[in-house]
Amino acid sequence: MIKQRPTPITEENFAPFGNYWNLCTQPKVRASKYEEYLTTDEPVYQPMRFGMTMCENGNRFAVRSMERHNTTEEVLFAADKPIVLSVAGSDPAGDPLAEDVRSFLLKPGDAVRMNKGIWHDACHAAKGEAFYYFMAHGTGQGDEIVWHDVQGPMVEVEL
């Protein structure tokens, strides 16, 4: 069994999988009534569909299966509470490998855009229940939305 704890996400440690933004440290919107912060670049660089996931978790969870989309990036951001995102940079033409699984902790205000072909599990709440938003150009078809079992020893994420 591979045991791991989620790593607080940073631009550097997420770079192999895509882009990361801390929305709370982006430039302040000049003409705002209160405090608003907006990215300078465009995480949503093309029209995208909009979704939401409600997730739950106890003190630990297993990363048993993953999906990847070869035709669309996926933008994802924590909404009400911290969440854990598990990804793998394994060959998108094969299966996700246990040894490649990395788990990141995202707080509300943390946003990512996963590259095409990056294996990912549905996020888990860091504690109790949480929800998060996600956006993708396509909803995927055929093998794009098939969940593949993670190959190798079981990966357990402890919180």
């Binding site: 949503v44 995208m48 909009f50 939401m52 909803t139």
Partner: protein, 156 residues
């Protein structure tokens, strides 16, 4: 003038843009999660992502609003429900109190307002909150313009 907050629906948001209550869509689920995603694009454009912090809840005063003429703007609640005040006066006029509506967005809702719709910053029904938005607004946008005439008090 007072305006009472009304739950956002597809019907009462039609004139402002695109509203979706995501949990009303087809559900996908597995162990420990449930998700929903629109069949259509939420906006027909690219967008920057933002977060807004509102320090106070309702009741609150709307004495100025802003609009973006070149971008749609999507709003989605953060930690809980949010109130958004909107106006779409005829003829491209600056809004007055009678034009203002206040709509409640629950977690799981999003509202993407069209170009030119006037809006105020989101607020919680009570206390501070935060919310997310997506748009292409730039430093060239007009900023908040005072309402014509009296302000509006938004109450739950």
């Amino acid at each position: 003038m007072q305006v009472t907050v009304v739950r956002a629906t597809e019907e009462n948001t039609k004139r402002y843009g695109k509203f979706v209550c995501l949990p009303k869509l087809e559900e996908f689920a597995s162990d420990g999660w449930r998700c929903w995603i629109t069949e259509e694009f939420c906006m027909d454009q690219a967008a920057k992502l933002g977060i807004g912090h509102s320090p106070q809840g309702a009741p609150y005063k709307v004495d100025a609003m802003q609009q973006h003429k070149k971008t749609k703007k999507l709003f989605a609640p953060g930690q809980g429900p949010v109130v958004i005040a909107l106006a779409k006066p005829e003829g491209g006029k600056i809004p007055q109190a009678a034009d203002v509506e206040a709509l409640l967005l629950e977690p799981g809702d999003f509202l993407a307002i069209d170009e030119g719709v006037w809006y105020d910053a989101c607020h919680a029904p009570d206390g501070p909150t935060y919310y997310f938005f997506a748009s292409l607004e730039t430093e060239d946008d007009s900023g908040y313009i005072p309402l014509q005439g009296e302000p509006v008090e938004v109450k739950m």
